[in-house]
Structure formats: C-alpha cells, structure tokens
Amino acid sequence: MSSMTRPSTRAEVTAPAAAKAPRARKSRVDPLYYFFLFPSLAIFTLAVTLPAVLGFVYSFTNSVGFGDFEFIGFRNFIAVFQDDGVLGSYGFTLAFSLVTVIVVNVVAFLLALGLTSRVRFRAALRTVFVIPMVISGIVIAFVFQYLFSNSLPLMGKGLGIEALSSSILANPDLAWVGIVFVTAWQSVPSAMLIYIAGLLTVPPEVYEASSIDGASPWHNLRHITLPLVAGYAVINTVLGFKNYLNAYDIIVGLTDGGPGVSTRSVAMAIFRGFEGGDYAYQMANAVIFFLISVAIALIQLRFTRGKGGIAA
C-alpha cells in the first residue's frame, strides 16, 4: 500500500517544489532532522543490531555466557542438528504454527463474514469478540490451564468421554490441542478485524449484480468474496506465522513445555541457554531459528505477489 501512496505524494511534492527547485536543491538538510532520526537509529543499533552481531559471533564459540571462551567453528551448529530435543522443538513449533494459522484464519473469516452480514447487535458482538486480543497471554493461559485440568475432566467423566476424563494438558499427545486452542482464542480477533476491513472493500453493487444474474449465496462466496479477500488472508498468514513461531507466553502458562518436552517451543529452548550453561550452543540455535523465520517470511512474500496488490 505504501507504494501506492508514494507516487501521489511525489506529485504533490514536485509541483510546489518545482518553482523554487534550485533553492531547495542547494539548501542543506536542516541538522534538526538528524537529531529527529538519531534516537531511533541509536536504540535500534544498541538494542538489536549489536546483540544480533554478538550472538552471531558467540554461536561459533564455546562460551557459557561469561568468562573465557574459544572459537570452535561450526561445532555448535552440527550439534544442534544432532540434538533430538532441539529438533523436537522445531517440529512442534512448525506444526503448531501451521495448525494455528489455519484454525485462526478459518474462524476469523467466518466471524468476519457473520459480522458484515445483516445481523443485529453488530457493534456489541464485535466488541465482545475483540476482547481476547487485549488480555495478557500468560494470564488467560493460567485461566485455561485451570479449565483444562479441572473443569474439562469433570465434564468428560460426566459425559463418559474417555479422552477428556483426565487433563488434556497432561497427555503428551493432546497437550498441543490446548495450546492451539488458547493461542487461537487470543489471535482470532486481530485476524477477524483485518478480514472485516477486507470484506467491507467489496462494493455491494457486485453482489447485487450477481444476484440479479441469479447467483446463489454459495456462488457469491466462492467466486466473489473469496478471491477478493485472498490478499487479506495472506496478511493474516504472514502476521500469524510471525507470532506463532515465537510462541512463549501461552505455552509457559499452559504446560511449561510439558509433559516432558512434548510442547517445548523453539523460543523456550533458546531461553534455556541461560540455565543449562549451553549459552553459545543456544545462540547457534537462535541463528538457525532466525534463518528459518526469514525463509518462511520470504516464501510467504513470494506467494503474495500473485495475489493482488494488497500487501505489496
């Protein structure tokens, strides 16, 4: 979108500037502008770039976080690829992100469709649906942890459902379901608002024209609505992956990585670098994690190119 607005402002800039272009060209930048820009560049460099470079350097050492260390080449990286625990955390994080992205997009799209149709109490309903977005992830995870480990088993026993009669969070095969549920619970609102914005860009005349032609609501959804909101789905997918790959708060609140290490995310594995003394090792892990995140983002951006110009 920014590329859309740029040419128009350019035109505005050049039109008045043309008259006194020679003067504007020669004049130097007001030094105040450097002063305006400086704080952001400074804190960004000190708080992100410097740690990133340090971490990259440390990943080739045997540092434990303090004291002497020596460079050991790619040994950390090789070890990461042979570590079942770390590989397990990647498997979990990727699978969890993928499932959550799908669940969130489907639920958010359906809610957005509902909220943009001719329903009553639209504003009130929307207000309620957005609430999860503003609740702390760890706090709501604690609430759901209680529900999953106390209330749900009681209901399961009452209804005679074997799988639910004990806490799903204590079951290595089912704990991830609880994590997907709570993460989706918190992420649906923002995706829904983006879908609502997308659905409102579809001019109602389009639907009117197609209903005159005798199209069914299903046909409208399939051939008008879905293609037109495809770009918004891409936005939600990109933003979703960005969040879910870094999952931490909700998992800490629900299972803390357990049972065993079955729900340990990559972020949790990296943070353990401070407890276990495998500082440099987890930095290597962080470098790999960074490369994978960038790769996933780039793959998604390639997809975006084909899907209209909304995110471009």
């Binding site: 607005t5 505005e12 992100v48 309903l125 209680y146 609502i196 009117e208 972020a267």
Partner: protein, 295 residues
Amino acid sequence: MSTATRTIPAKSSAAGKRRFGGGQERTNWPATALLIVCTLAVLVPLYVTISMAFKTTGQAVDGNAFSLPSPLTFDSFTQAWTLTNFPRGFMISVFVSVTAVIGEILVSALAAYAIVRNWDRRLFRWSFFYLLAAMFIPFPVVALPQIQLTGLVGLDNPLGVAILHIVFALAFNTMLFTAFLRSIPLELEESMRMDGAGTWQVFWRLIFPLLGPMSATVGIFAFIASWNDFMMPSLIISDPEMQTIPVLQKIFQTQFSNSYNVAFASYLMAMAPAIVVYLFTQRWVMSGLTQGAVK
C-alpha cells in the same frame, strides 16, 4: 487510512441494499443467533475468572468452575493484593507501559517525519529500510545477548524492558507514521515556514497535532502490548521485587497452587486495566489494526 472511513459506508451500503434489493433488508436472525452463541467462547472464560474470584477457598476447590459464588466474598482480592504486593507491581507495570507509550509515539513520529521529508537523501532512505529490518528479528533470536548486555549496563530493570518494547515496535510504528505523513500535503508546512517557523516549530505545532489519530493508535497498542507482556520482563528484569503484574501471577503456579479463588482474583486484577482501556478506546483499536495491516 481508507479503511477508517470505509467502516462508515458499511451502513449506507446497507441502506442502498434496502432500496434496490427488495426484501433483503430483513435481519439475518439465524446468523445473529449463531454469533451470540459464539460469544460464549469469549464470555465463559471471563465469567469463570470473575465468579471464581468471588468464591471462598472452600467453594473454589470443589472443582465446579461454573457455579455462582455462594457466599460472595471479597477476601480473595485482599489476599491477592498482599500476596502479589499488587500496589508495587501495579506501579511498575504502569511505569513500563507509560514509558513505552510515550517513547514509541515520540521516537517513531520524529524518525518518520525526518525520513519522509528527506526521502530523496540516501541516509534517510536507508535508515528507513534499516529500521524495517527489525520486523525480521524477533525477540527470541537476540534475547540471550540482550539479557547479558542489559545486565552489563544496569538496564536489567523495568526501564530496560520499556526500552526494548520501544525498539521492537519501532519498525511497525515508523511504517504507520511514514504512511500517514505521506498523505499530509506539503503546502500546509510551507506556508508555516514562509511565516518564519523552523523545523522544530513546524513539527510540534503542525505535524505532531496532525498525527494525533495515528499516535492514539500507536499509543493504545503500545499500552496493551507492554501491559500484557510476559516474555521480556520475565527474562530481562533480574530483581523479582521489580517484576511486572503478568510475571507476578506465576506465584500461583509455584507457591499458592491451591488457592484458586485468590489466583483468579489476581488474574482479574491483572487483566482489568487493559480491558477497561480497550472498552474506552475501541474506535482507535479497530481502525488502527486494519490500517497497519493494509498499509
């Protein structure tokens, strides 16, 4: 920007349908009913939190989360208040959030203004892309060196967390502000400069007030994100006495794991401020999110 105005035509388009579509104006009651049922997914966990908070310890341990509190008691709130040292945690969380809100608005607005007005100069253009790169660097990737560095320079405290919030939101906020600034016509500014105003005055008297709606959006998101965050404070703040409200809730998992009513009272006090802020600022939350995504 356009999405903010688009939400309003939604109503007029419904009116348009009423005129042309004939018979279509009826409220879709099945969809309404379905959506009301769906709100239970949001309301039930909130109801459980509230009702548990008002129960006695005896009732809270019976396992029935959905029963109404009887008798109703406020004891759990006073207990949660002292157990978590709520006033101290509250002040620290307020400090982190307020610093993040003011910092995010000021730092990004100033940078965006400098970048947009000097877009034809390489330094400013490259700075923009440099800041945008932050979008690709999530906190976990740089967390370990960051924890070390903040400890080294004495920022392993709430101030350090606030600064990190400002940094990690920088890319997104600068993008929002630059997009908004590009839509402000330069003529306004030039006439003010003709009258002898300098860059400083132009920014504070003209540009910053014009950025108001965008600053509101950035500020509200900064508040919600920093108030609710667990990851950064739990890793950066080394002194447990200086922890923010969300991190303090952990004691109900470790030390007081059977006082459910006290725990839920504490959870309720932790989530209430963000919910209240949201209810009063909804308009900016809705428009801000869609602007950010579409831009």
